[in-house]
Amino acid sequence: MRTALFCVILLVLAGGLLLMATDLSFGHPLRSDMDDYFIRHGQYQTGVNNIVTSIVFDFRGFDTLGEATVLFTAVLGVGLMFRKLHSGEEYEND
């Protein structure tokens, strides 16, 4: 009984959220100063034809360095996790 009630409430909430989301106008942000700046000056300032890449690797290059570091740390973690398994006699690689 309680589970059914919970499900109904969840359904109503999800439906309401979906209804509210359809009212939002897509593609018309309130403030578009930043976007306009990137679109107008991105190619001229960075010399890159791909605006997305010019933002990711030039205007927000430090953020990309962080992403690359996250991947590096993830690989480090996986390597640590499987370290014991192939340090034994069976899987001695290279």
Binding site: Q43, Y44, T46, G47, V48, N49, N50, V52, T53, S54, V56, F57, D58, G61, F62, T64, L65, E67, A68, T69, L71, F72, A74, V75, V78, G79, M81, F82, L85, H86, Y91, N93, D94
Partner: protein, 155 residues
């Protein structure tokens, strides 16, 4: 655990094409959709295909873990050093000091829609290559490490 001959042959046939397409996505990152992350993931898909079709013992002869580790570390170091190099040229960290100078990867681009040239973008193609190397090495290393944890029945 070894797949059938059909799977192994198909993986062998697809492997170079995956690498070449990934390399294309990486090097054209500043002109077409894609970039270091996406291209590196495509290249890692090629090696993943090779890895899942073979046993761990068989694959370590072709893909050495030290090579992949070197690849990954070199990619990240390339990124960092390119960023530090712009400090030496009196620009902010990761400031694009190579672009539009007329030198290496510094051709002047014409404003507006144009097909573009590989020789533009300054620091961006170098960073793309660095990130591509890092993602390729990293993802392949993750798959290889996880494969090493699987218990295989001895042939």
């Amino acid at each position: 655990m070894k797949m059938t001959k059909i799977v192994r042959t198909t993986a062998d046939a697809f492997y170079p094409f995956c690498l070449v397409f990934g390399l294309y996505v990486v090097t054209h990152g500043h002109l077409t959709p894609g970039g270091g992350f996406q291209g590196g993931a495509v290249m890692a898909t090629g090696t993943a295909l090779l890895i899942v079709s073979r046993s761990y013992r068989e694959i370590t002869g072709r893909l050495r873990q030290t090579m992949l580790k070197l690849c990954e570390a070199f990619g990240l170091m390339l990124f960092l050093l390119a960023g530090l190099q712009s400090l030496a040229n009196a620009r902010p960290f990761l400031g694009n000091w190579l672009t539009q100078t007329g030198g290496f990867v510094g051709s002047v681009v014409s404003y507006g829609p144009n097909p573009g040239s590989l020789d533009t973008g300054g620091l961006v193609p170098l960073l793309n290559v660095g990130v591509g190397l890092e993602v390729f090495g990293g993802l392949t290393l993750i798959i290889l490490c996880m494969l090493s944890g699987i218990k295989e029945d001895r042939p």
